[in-house]
Symmetry: C2
Subunit: 505 residues, 2 copies
Amino acid sequence: MPSAAGRGQGPERDRRPESGEQPAADDYAKERYGVSSMIQSQEKPDRVLVRIKDLTEEKADEVVWVRGRIHTSRAKGKQCFLVLRQQQFNIQALVAVGQHASKQMVKFAANINKESIVDVEGVVRKAHQKIGGCTQQDVELHVQKIYVISLAEPRLPLQLDDAVRPEVEGEEDGRATVNQDTRLDNRVIDLRTSTSQAVFCLQSGICQLFRETLIRKGFVEIQTPKIISAASEGGANVFTVSYFKSSAYLAQSPQLYKQMCICADFEKVFCVGPVFRAEDSNTHRHLTEFVGLDIEMAFNYHYHEVVDEIADTMVQIFKGLQERFQTEIQTVNKQFPCEPFKFLEPTLRLEYREGVAMLREAGVEMGDEDDLSTPNEKLLGRLVKEKYDTDFYILDKYPLAVRPFYTMPDPVNPKNSNSYDMFMRGEEILSGAQRIHDPQLLTERAQHHGIDLEKIKAYIDSFRFGAPPHAGGGIGLERVTMLYLGLHNVRQTSMFPRDPKRLTP
Amino acid sequence: MPSAAGRGQGPERDRRPESGEQPAADDYAKERYGVSSMIQSQEKPDRVLVRIKDLTEEKADEVVWVRGRIHTSRAKGKQCFLVLRQQQFNIQALVAVGQHASKQMVKFAANINKESIVDVEGVVRKAHQKIGGCTQQDVELHVQKIYVISLAEPRLPLQLDDAVRPEVEGEEDGRATVNQDTRLDNRVIDLRTSTSQAVFCLQSGICQLFRETLIRKGFVEIQTPKIISAASEGGANVFTVSYFKSSAYLAQSPQLYKQMCICADFEKVFCVGPVFRAEDSNTHRHLTEFVGLDIEMAFNYHYHEVVDEIADTMVQIFKGLQERFQTEIQTVNKQFPCEPFKFLEPTLRLEYREGVAMLREAGVEMGDEDDLSTPNEKLLGRLVKEKYDTDFYILDKYPLAVRPFYTMPDPVNPKNSNSYDMFMRGEEILSGAQRIHDPQLLTERAQHHGIDLEKIKAYIDSFRFGAPPHAGGGIGLERVTMLYLGLHNVRQTSMFPRDPKRLTP
C-alpha cells in the first residue's frame, strides 16, 4: 500500500465541493475522502496510478489507484455510481455505504461536479453483467477512497454526452446535440470527447506516417521561414506583418524555399508547418491557417518519378492508419458513420482529359481547358469510385492555362502541363507539378502571366547556378484527416481553427 | 545499355557552354557530348543513375551513369580532370583524348562552368594512388560520354572551396574564406557545401529523434495556431498581423495551446513549429523566427516526472546523433573543430542555489534571487564541465521573481519556483516549469505581476473545468544544433535565418 502521505488530511482538505459539509465527528470514513490541496509537487509518493484501459478481468480483486475525471455521477439510495473517464476510456465506479464508505462519503462523492479530476482507491470487481456505455464492460471499481485533485465549476458550457451524439439520433428523439460554434468556443471541453480524442490522435498519426515514410525514402526534413519579404504569388490573399520599422508577409506556401533546397542539392525534402491564406472564403474546407505537408524532389528524367513517390507516401499513410488506428477510426464512426476509405495499389492515375470525358459522359458541359468546379470535382470523385472502386486517385496533365506560371508545360501538347492534383473522396488534397528549373523559360512564362519580374527576381535567380529537374506538391493535413474519416468540415480536424470570422481560442 | 534516345542529338543540343564550338565534321566523338535540351519529362529512359557514394572498388571496370555537379575542373594537355559532386560525396572523373573522347570533347568538358549539372557515362577504374580531396579515394571515373543537364552561370557569387575553409587556415595562409552575409545572401550555393549539407541533415535528425522518442513515450503531436487574437505575455516583443478588417498577433510560443491540450486530456503533447519574437536583439543566438520543439505533460504528483522525461528525450537525441550522424559530425568538425559533446545518464540536475554557490566560489558576486547573466551562464557551464564532465545539465528551482507569472511557486520556499532551464555547452536551450493549474492562484499571481486580467481571461478560464497538474518546456532547435556541433552562430543552423536586419532570401 502506498503511503497516503497527507492526502485528504489536515490542510490538504481545505477546499470542498460546493455542497460539501464538514465531515461529522461520527463519520468513520472521514479520512477516506475530501479535496486534496493543490498539487504543487510537495512530495514524490511511490503510489502507482493504474490506467483505466488496463482495468480488465485479469486485475479482478486487486486494489488499485486511478486518476480520472468524473464523467457522470448518479446517486441511488445508499450508493453512488460514478463513471470515471480517462481519454477515450471509462469505467464504472461504485461508492456504497459499508465498511469503507459512510453515508457522508457517498454524499460527498455524489456531489463532486462533473469533469472534476479525482484520485480513487478501489477494488477491481468482475461485473455481474456487461456494463453498457463504458469501455471497460467486464469490471467495475469498488471505491474505498476518493479525493478531488482538481474541481470543475458546476456549470459546464456543454455536456460531453451531447457532444458525441450522432446528429441523426438527436434529431430523431429530440435529444441535444452541440453546434459547431459552441464546440469551438469551448474547445478545451469539446476536445475531451471520445470523438475529438480519436480525431486528433489519428491526425498525429498522419504526421508521423508521413514523416516515417519519407525518411525511409531518404528525404530530409527542412524548416522554412514563415515571415517573408515578398509575397510569393503576386500579393493576393497574403497577410501583412509589421516587421520592426518595415513590413513583411506570411508565407502562403513553403514552395520557394523547398525549391531553393533542391537547388542546394538536398535532392528530396519535406516540411510540415503552417501555411497562411488571407482568403475571405467561408466554406467547409477553407481555413486561413492550415498545416501543410510539403514535398519537393529532384528527379532524373520524368516527373512521374515524383508523382509515384508522393502517391506511395499517401498509400503508406492510409495503410498505417488502418493498421495502427483502428480503435480511433471506429470511435469516430460511432458519431459520424462512414464507409471505410478505399484505395488501390498502385494508385489510379487518370489524365485530365480522361476526367473531362467521364464528366461529359455524365452530362456535364465543359471545355478541354476549363478548370474543375467544386461540384464537378465531387461528381468526378463519385464516377471514379463507381468505375474503379477507389477513394483516392490522381488527375494528371492539367491544362497549362489553369496552373501557376512556374508549372512546366507538357513537351508534347503545349496546352497541357506536367501538373497533377490528388483527390480523396472527391475533394482535392494535394496540388503539385514539375516546376520550371530553367531561368529563361521561367522568365518567359512569368511575362506571359503578366507578373512583375522585379518581384520574383530572387526566385528566378535561384535557378541560375545549376538546377536539377524537380517536382513536388503540398498536402493539407486537416483535409486529409477530414476526408479519411468522412467528416464534413475542416474545423472538426483543426484543433484551434482560424477562418475569416474566428481567431479564438 | 540504356537507349540514348536523343540525348545529345539534334535539337537536344541547342544550347552550349559559352565557349563551346560546333562539333567539327571530323569529330569522331561528336555524339558523345553536348548540352541536353531542358528535361521536360519527354521520356522515361530505363537508364540507371548510380550514386557517387556507391562508387567503390567493388564497381571497378563497370560502366556506369552518374549525375553530378562539376565541382572543379582542370585541363592539362590532352586530359581534363573533373571532380563530380553529389551532396557530401565526390569523385574524380577523367576525360582524356583517346578511343572515346576527341580533343574537341576534352575541350568541351573543360569549358563547362563549375556547379553545372552533368550526366556522365564512364568506366569505374581503380586509382593508382589515393585521390586526395575526394570522398571516393580509391576509384576514378573514365568518362565516355558527358552531357550538360543544367548549365550554371560562369561567375559564382562564392566559391565552395572558400566556403568550407576553416577560418584559422584562411587567416594563416591568406586564402579566402566567406563571410556570413555573403553566405546568407547566396544561400542556395552556401547550402551546397559539405558543411551545410551535414549541418542540416543532422538538424533533420534532431527533429526525427525528438519525435521518435516522444511518440515511443506515448506523446501525441499537436498543431497549434500561429495567428492569435491576443498577445500571450503582455504584448511586448510581438509581431502584429493585419487580419481582414482587424488585427492579430504571431504566437510567441505555443504554450497556451499546449496547456489547453493538457486540460483537454491529451495528457502528453508535443509540437514542432515556428515561434516568433519581435525582439530587436542582434546577438549570435537570437532570431526573430525560430523552430520550437515544445513539450507539455500532465504529471501525477511531482513536476520532476516531467523534467526526467524531457531530460531523457534530450539524452536520446544526443545518443541518436552519435549513432546515426557520425559522418555529418565529422564533416562539420573539419571546418569547425570542436570537442565531442558529453552528457551523463541520468542527466545532472543542480539546484539554482547550487549554481549560485559555484559561481560565488569562482568570484562572482550575485544575490540569491538575481537572474543569471549570459556571461555567468557560460562561466557556470565551464565550472560544471570541470566538476562533472558534462556539456548538458539542468538548473532547477529558479527564484520565483525571475520567472513568468504562470510559474508554480515552490511549496517549501516561497521565494523559489518549480521551474528549470536546461543548458548545452553553457548556453540555455530550454526553459520550462510546472504551470499553475489552479485558476484562483493563477489570478493572484497575474495580479501580483500587474497583468491585466481581462487580457488573460481566456487563459485562466481554460483551467476552470478540471485541470491536471502539468509541466513542460520549449527547446530552440537552432540552438540545439549549434551547440551540439560547437558552432558559434545560430544563423549557421537556420536555413533561412530571420533577424531584425535580415528577411531574405
